[in-house]
Symmetry: C2
Subunit: 133 residues, 2 copies
DNA sequence: TTCGTTGCAAATGTTTTGCACCTGA
DNA sequence: TCAGGTGCAAAACATTTGCAACGAA
């Protein structure tokens, strides 16, 4: 097991995620971090995001838009994805721990976690009429 | 709006998905279809999988393993993903339509659907001891 | 000094796309 | 006939990785 060593880059990446509630992608993190460390590389950003997610300090989110999103908040919670603007928003709703128990009655194995994404249209997009195409 | 035209390839892709319960990836579909149409191209497979998903004849599944999976069964249902072998299995459990209603009380916008993936370890993998690395 | 970390660039893996030809209606 | 579909190859993207130099302990 490798011992972690301090790195300014990794700390900044985590700090940045903690300030955000909009679940940025690796690319967004990268461009933000460039403002602080002009030479930081995409590889470093990906490596640290992976590492932080592995040790449970951040959370990786899959919404089906083809890009991974990251969340500085690790307490289990749900997300809503707007199908128009693809924003990923937090949902302040009780986490349903009981569904895992329920699911394990129907599964021949061990269930350890669950993720739920809600899909819909956010208020901003409801206000904006559809564009013809 | 484009009018659909019959194609043997598209029909075979859908037929193949209907026979499977293991949620194959595009690549798996491609290799299977090659046995019937030796010249079918990956592009055709991707185009048809996208199209079929768009018109709601099949379902696209995101599990976070970096590859899209496809499901011939379009009735809403849940999946369990084995975190060891990455298999995607159907879960025969009541679909919780009421959680969308519940979620919409906490969301400023309109919620139209939800997906839930359960994660755990399947029976086969529970039987297999961990490999040292 | 040691070994994890970084920047850079190349590689990988998945999915999309441009284009000329083919085919169903 | 003609718009949609196909095969092929190239492109587009997101993500990972090899490597030499760097830096924390």
């Amino acid at each position: 097991m490798a011992t972690l060593k301090y790195s300014r880059q990794r700390e900044s990446i985590k700090d940045f995620l903690m300030t955000r509630t909009d679940h940025p992608t690796a690319d967004v993190v990268y461009h933000q971090l460039r403002k602080i460390y002009p030479n930081i590389s995409l590889g470093t950003v990906y490596r640290n995001l992976s590492l932080l997610a592995d040790i449970g300090e951040i959370q990786k989110i899959y919404t089906g838009d083809g890009v991974d999103h990251f969340d500085g908040q690790v307490v289990p919670h749900y997300h809503v994805v707007c199908t128009k603007c693809h924003r990923v928003m937090d949902l302040d709703m009780d986490y349903m721990t009981e569904v895992e128990e329920k699911a394990s009655h129907h599964f021949n194995g061990k269930i350890t976690s669950h993720i739920t994404n809600f899909y819909g249209v956010c208020n901003d997009c409801l206000d904006t009429p559809d564009v013809a195409h």
